[in-house]
């Protein structure tokens, strides 16, 4: 009964990253963005209200640890979007990469582990009979399609012209972060939902593996490029006097290795679930030494 589409109800959170950039002005060193912050707080509040309401029932809908995870996820979103990391991201590609990695891995996963879908009302029709509605639901639940969408978002925005344009234009930058976070939430929600079903774990694992591989390849391309790919950062580098190529290499490596490690860990967790319950090993005789 509770197996609703886990993405539902996250619309509120999606607005956060998009607006984060809207409010931040260039060169704002403190970079505390009250607007982004307040939306995160609002999401957390909505979740808390839902938690209280659910606690009125007999069964506890969301265990406390999951609630903690949701709050931690909000905190990480907050830290990524409204902290010194954000202002550093305007200066260093590597810092920007850290911000992106956090936005698409740790933060959404922590939020989703809190099962906001159970608490915040769904934004999608629950029982649409029309074939487009069924198709949309199937697509939203499919780790493969979610992984493809997430992959396209990541690769498209790393094309230098788009990436640079986003750096110049705050609205585009907001759109960039929005598409990262939205597809990441979709991706992880579909993966988590698929992992809950025994029959969905293989697909979830393949989706995570594919993302691990293509993310690693993108990181490798950045790390191995013989020239700076993003002119905006090359300008920053000239201004601040650091080597733009080294910055780009570091950014690629961050995406490749620690980023990859995160997908690896999730992939192993899915594999662990896939193996299922372990039957005790066969033993011919009662235990004890001979």
């Amino acid at each position: 009964m509770l197996r609703r589409i886990p993405i539902a109800g996250l619309g509120l959170l999606l607005a956060v990253p998009a607006l984060a950039h809207g409010a931040a002005t260039e060169g704002d060193a403190a970079s505390f963005d009250p607007f982004a912050g307040s939306i995160i707080v609002a999401a957390a509040l909505a979740y808390g209200v839902g938690l209280r309401r659910a606690a009125n029932g007999r069964r506890r809908l969301v265990p406390p640890l999951r609630a903690v995870s949701f709050m931690a996820g909000c905190a990480v979103f907050f830290a990524a979007l409204a902290s010194p990391l954000h202002s550093q991201a305007d200066l260093y590609l590597a810092a920007h990469m850290v911000q992106h990695i956090v936005l698409v891995t740790v933060a959404p996963l922590l939020v989703l582990v809190g099962r906001p879908d159970l608490l915040i009302l769904g934004v999608l029709p629950r029982r649409g009979r029309s074939s487009p509605a069924r198709f949309a639901r199937a697509a939203l639940r499919s780790p493969t399609i979610a992984a493809a969408a997430h992959g396209i978002a990541i690769w498209a925005w790393h094309a230098p012209p788009l990436f640079d344009a986003a750096l110049q234009n705050e609205a585009l930058h907001a759109l960039e972060h929005f598409s990262f976070v939205a597809t990441a939430l979709w991706f992880w929600a579909a993966v988590l939902a698929a992992t809950r079903r025994a029959s969905g774990r293989i697909e979830a694992l393949i989706a995570v593996l594919a993302t691990l591989i293509h993310g690693g390849i993108l990181g490798a391309l950045l790390a191995f490029s013989g020239r700076p790919l993003y002119p905006a950062y090359a300008d920053e580098a000239a201004l601040l006097g650091y080597a733009p190529l080294a910055d780009q290499q570091l950014a690629g490596l961050i995406m490749w290795v620690p980023g990859g490690a995160f997908y690896l860990a999730v992939g192993l967790w899915i594999a662990f679930r896939l193996i299922g319950q372990e039957t005790p090993p066969y033993s011919a005789a009662p235990s004890g030494k001979v």
Binding site: G226, S283, A285, S287, G288, K289, V290
Partner: protein, 328 residues
Amino acid sequence: MTRVRGLPAGLALALAGCTPIQSALDPAGSNAGMVFDLGVAMTIGATLVCVLVVVLAWRAVRRSRAEGAWLASPRMVIALGAVLPAVVLTALLAYGFVLDRQLAAEEDRAALTVRVTGEQWWWRVAYLAPDGSPAFETANEIRLPVGQPVRFELESADVIHSFWVPALGGKIDLIPGRTNTVTLLAEREGIYRGQCAEFCGTQHALMAFMARAETPEDFGAWFAAEGGDARQPETEEEVAGHGAFVAAGCGACHAVRGTAAAGTIGPDLTHVGSRLTIAAGTLPNHAGTLAAWVTDAQAIKPGARMPSFDELDGPTLRSIAVYLASLR
């Protein structure tokens, strides 16, 4: 097919009183020295782990049916299979990282730059002037001053090669279309043999060179002399040899500065007589081997670009060899 490689390069050099070193276990450079220490530490660690596994496996097999014992538990599998390696490897990683920082620090101090170009199957060597232009060119032999880091710019003219002087430090590939760099610092005087370490075709095995580490004074003197033109032929035989060298068309491929020979296909021979070996470390260097190489290169190093000039008569061949040997 006759083989002339009867007197190997190393032996000849040993007779001359200086043994070339080509061993990572006999480090003479700072890079090689640090890696040597790392290698010793890792070998000790690996041996300990190996002994641990053997002892545990032995116990497991000998005292079997120990279900419930620690050695038979999944906890042991996690402790020794996952936690132990994680701890050891993290420590090792830290060591490797520190080492890498030290090596990086050396790079910034290099004042002298040498451009080495790998060609099938020899090494073109150019010492660069401070402005980056080649000061002079030589081949298959590199001299470097003791105690001063030297930066090597590595390029390739054909296929991928790899530049490696084990006694001085690790190897770096020479890749067409790219320029790699490595910084080496020799800590004591000596002759260190280097060799191509990336398979590059038929004669990959015979693509060696000598790195001679000298006192800064000796190096300075050599540097000044090496940039100059070739020594003029003096004896009658040398003059004849020079003539024969020109007549045989050697200058189409080889350069001898100060003469009409200005070819750039093969090694520069301006001061060939002063080198320890010829044919990229294949033969010791004296008039006899020079003559053998000129007349029989394809037997000594089948497939090399150098043709066998076997139509030259004895006296002509001899005069060319004497002339080349005189180019000190």
